[in-house]
Symmetry: C2
Subunit: 133 residues, 2 copies
Amino acid sequence: MGPGRRKSTAKMSMGHLEMDIMPIAWRNGAVTVKQVFEELYPARKLAYTTIMTVMKRLAHKGLLEVDDQTVPYVYRAVVDSQELTTAVVDEVVDRLLGGSSATLVLHYLKHGKMSQEERSMITLALEEQVKTD
Amino acid sequence: MGPGRRKSTAKMSMGHLEMDIMPIAWRNGAVTVKQVFEELYPARKLAYTTIMTVMKRLAHKGLLEVDDQTVPYVYRAVVDSQELTTAVVDEVVDRLLGGSSATLVLHYLKHGKMSQEERSMITLALEEQVKTD
DNA sequence: GCCATAATACTACACACTTAGGACTATGCA
DNA sequence: TGCATAGTCCTAAGTGTGTAGTATTATGGC
């Protein structure tokens, strides 16, 4: 597997702007640089070319794929939000906590925003775990 | 709050080597550069001065504090592992998931290594949450 | 007090990410 | 078909992190 083009998302590091762009791709399914630029502009007054540079890098990393058959090019996310987030967080948890994630889970149960529905799913998952022991 | 010296750990980004050093400080309570160097050397063949540079940066960031009254200097962690990890992960969760942490929690319940005891604590925390509603 | 040794300070280069300006190109309309 | 415009490509500077070499300083034994 050559550099810049990876099969999946094992161990990933991302910059801030890169992280800000991915959710826009997820929400919209397919985006142009212009679309991302416009969504991002109110919060971060960045140049159009800045967005373009970063989106190209995300494509190079294998996180976005680009259809250059049409102009303007259309970008799509290759990995979904769960896959990418856990890949990035795994890196942190592995290094800082030696892979033990319980503290983190507790933190988010206590301080994270979570709907009733989401909590039910978590309870369920927890019961599954206990059974499997 | 001037640059390089922050009160706490709201929103933190860290490099890989920086993340590898912090747990060594946590485990040992107080460490010298030499100690960290020796713990790290088998896995990462890095120069002594590399470790020194990074530990100094960590002190500058406010994650370690240094006692330079004695030689060799003694470094101590200023933030604990939970505080730092959640600060780093919060950054990622906020940007990639808009702050919604349920997916992440589910991921770790399913794939994270976790003791029986830890799972009990999680179950308890979950029940607390339900009550508070 | 002086020297060997161990530790720290200073400096520097490489790479990744952020940022963006200017050059180049393609598309549609006159 | 040629020009205006929108879009992409190329290039580059600034910052943070990883990496480490060389210079300087401090400590302990003689």
